[in-house]
Amino acid sequence: MTKWSPKYKAKKYQIYNILLYPAIIVLLVPMLFLIKPLPLEALHIILVLGIFSFVSELFIVSLPMSGFTSVGFSISFATLIIFGPLAAMIVELFGSVTLRDIKEKTPWYVVTFNTAQLAFSIGVTGLIYKYTGGVILYESGSGAAQSLIATNYIKTFIPIFLSIVTYFLISTSIIASAIAFDEERPFLNVWLFNFKWTIPNYFALGIIGVLLAQFYHLSAQAGVLVILIFLPMLLAARAVFLGHMKLREFKDSSVKVFAKAVEVKDEYTGGHSERVAEYAAKIARDKDFAKEFKMREHQIEALRYAGYLHDIGKIGIPKRILTKPTRLNADEYEKIKEHPEVGALILKHIAVLKDVVPGVLYHHEKVDGKGYTRGLLGASIPLIARILAVADSFDAMTSKRPYRPSFSRQEAINKLFKGAGSDYDQRVVETLARVLEINHSGAEEAQKKAATK
């Protein structure tokens, strides 16, 4: 089960409650009147499954942007196959409020949002399962003779497959739209970044659910052994969720440490890489810029990390060159020019930071081809490198250097506009000026220059 916890708590999210609860009531109609409703004689088993579901929600794993996920889906899905949609909805509800909500004082409208979202997803899933011809084991009578797969396994697997897809799509889309609403990001970006990676795991959870249902069907008297048998499976699924999130955490913290390590070497650049990362992310997230270039969330993340790490190659440059107060001679300048190359070499070996390498390697390229390290021209320079070049120059200009005082933001923007089209990508510079809300006196000049070319 996937749940949402908003970053910015505001009551406007009640709109979801207003929309979802009537929809659930509509769903309840066929469940109560058209399908054989709850088997009352098996109520105690549904209760046990509900408790199982509640417990599984105690071990949630947080998602990349916001929200949580857990392995609870396999339990409600098993319930769906054994007892039908209404029972599945009840079991799902057992997992909708957790101890965490009480401890962290989650606002009531978020709790109701999650409850509604889960109930709605499993409700629709249940109906789809039923009406695409899915077998509900309890109805078809117990005994090993009538088992889930033995009849016609293509006919059995189509409803199962459809149900898993439906559940996943509905639940994650509702949450992604809420996050998009909450954090003002494009919906598709949120969905891809936050949920796409969970797809294989959701299928695994679904199959575990099927196995659980089948197991119940084959041996209803198993008792405690059910937990013993399925716990390892669920733990394995959870280990996959956890592994993903740990990977992200490790990446994040190691990137930041190394950014700091470079800065220690050159005291003039304190906080530089962090600011470059921020400027770069701001440019990429600008609405008009996003419309034109359509950067996905993971690309923006790579851009931010590249911002943090763009100067990591300076680790290999002697300190006396980096902090030299006078002009560098040719040899020393050559040495400085090596840093993108060295940085790329350091990062190349780290699989999780592969996307960052182009940003680091090309952040000193100029659009007219006169930059280093490869002399790439215009659009052949990767976008993240073009953004970084602007962000890097802007921060360098607005901070003090051993050989010059700092420029004001206005002056820096003017200078960037002067270089737009030759050193920098015009649209990136324009976007930076826009997000920083600085009017550029050099804008017309730059446009003229672009027009004459």
């Binding site: 797969i149 196995l211 084959l218 716990l231 190691s254 440490v257």
Partner: protein, 425 residues
């Protein structure tokens, strides 16, 4: 010399027991075999091959396989002689195929281990009144409801013997102490629970096999084992990705730093390896062992803060309190919450054992190990060629200073570890 003899002896004993059991039951198998057991035999052999071939690598070294589940299922279903045959087929082919690809695991040793485990737990299962399910008609519900204590005990016994033997073989192979490994492997490995967790799905496998008609028995239980194996493999892959990104990055950064001086090249990596073997020798494992290894790799990271011309840049040993790079290093690393402890170790890695302000307990063990090991590497490999010493001589030099600069306990363990690695003598 004595340790090697002991190792060979215990290996031989294990293999002999395994082979003995196998030969005895092979004759039984020839008498018992019926053609209807052919398909389960094949299915379980193939599954076993897969699970043994795709063993799940663990973060802190070693691998764990989910073959336990398959053997458990087979053990509940088939007579012991059949289980032993399929065990041999599966394990032998898996290790042979693997051996053709990489360095040799001990083929017969791992097989003997499995044979012993299976025989012992099957023995228990039969003594407690259990029967091979496929050979006897009966209800699966009855088997579960009245037999669950037997099932549970079989699992526990299987786990205990398998796990103990596993860790014993690991300690034999890597020449590490046995007891810490026994606790460490399950407590500190992120997937350590698989040692036991791989077994219960075997019960489900047995139930499915008993109740479904072919070929659905194989489809279902194949799906079960495949799913479990796949999830664990994936989780392990992710764990490795995240854990390797740190050391790899640290290593790359250290290489960049060391690149400025040809004499320093490889120092960090060698120190980290030496520190790891010493720490193992002192009985460290899991997180604590990792801590020492990381800190050893990074002990000189503070040098990026120094001028390349300063005397401390190349050789730091012996400068004691005057050296600055440990402090700088700790500053850099201290910025990351994950590396706080590493920072603490790095800060004190030149602290003399008999430091005036501190008592020995305040210097972390990791720092005391790195103090010895880094100096050893400096004496043997970093110094200009004429001043270098042979390992044996270097140890004597270090021993002269134990008690003052170095912790005698660490020096002793280090010497022992070097001897095991055949660096000395």
């Amino acid at each position: 010399m004595q340790t090697t003899a002991k190792t060979t002896f215990s290996r031989l004993i294990l293999i002999l027991i395994g082979v003995g059991i196998f030969v005895y039951y092979f004759t039984v198998f020839l008498g018992e075999f019926t053609s209807e057991l052919f398909s389960p035999l094949t299915f379980f052999s193939i599954s076993l091959f897969f699970t043994e071939y795709f063993r799940i690598p663990l973060l802190l070294g070693g691998t764990v396989s989910v073959s336990g589940g398959i053997l458990i299922a087979a053990l509940f279903l088939l007579p012991l002689s059949h289980v032993l045959i399929l065990t041999s087929l599966g394990v032998l082919t898996a290790t042979l195929v693997k051996e053709a690809k990489e360095e040799t695991p001990d083929v017969f040793l791992s097989l003997a281990q499995k044979i012993i485990v299976v025989t012992a737990s099957a023995g228990l299962y039969y003594t407690l009144g259990g029967k091979p399910l496929l050979m006897h008609s009966g209800e699966i519900n009855h088997w579960l409801s009245s037999g669950w204590p037997v099932i549970l005990m079989t699992l526990v016994v299987y786990f205990l013997i398998d796990y103990t033997l596993d860790q014993y073989l690991v300690s034999l192979k890597y020449k590490t102490p046995f007891k810490p490994a026994l606790i460490g492997a399950i407590r500190f490995q992120s997937l350590g629970w698989v040692y036991f967790g791989s077994l219960p799905p075997g019960i489900l496998g047995a139930i499915i096999f008993k109740s479904e008609k072919p070929p659905f028995d194989m489809i279902w239980s194949g799906l079960l084992f495949l799913l479990f194996l796949g999830l664990l493999q994936y989780a392990s892959f992710l764990n490795f990705r995240s854990s390797e990104s740190y050391p790899k990055m640290l290593q790359a950064v250290m290489t960049a730093i060391e690149a400025q001086d040809p004499l320093l090249r490889g120092h960090a990596e060698r120190v980290s390896q030496l520190a790891a073997v010493t720490a193992r020798e002192m009985g460290l494992y899991g997180e604590k062992l990792n801590l020492v290894t990381y800190a050893a790799l990074l002990h000189d990271i503070g040098k990026i803060y120094l001028d390349e011309d300063s005397p401390e840049y190349l050789i730091a040993g012996g400068t004691g309190e005057t050296s600055l790079h440990p402090v700088h290093g700790a500053q850099i690393l201290g910025m990351d919450p994950y590396l706080k402890q590493v920072a603490n170790v790095v800060r004190q890695h030149h602290e003399p054992y008999s430091g005036i302000k501190r008592t020995k307990d305040h210097i972390p063990l990791g720092a005391r190990i790195i103090n010895v090991v880094a100096d050893f590497d400096e004496i043997t490999q970093v110094l200009p060629f004429e001043e270098r010493q042979k390992p044996k001589k270097a140890i004597t030099t270090i021993k002269e200073n134990q008690g003052q600069t170095y912790d005698p306990k660490v020096v002793r363990a280090f010497e022992k570890a070097l001897r095991k690695q055949n660096v000395l003598f």
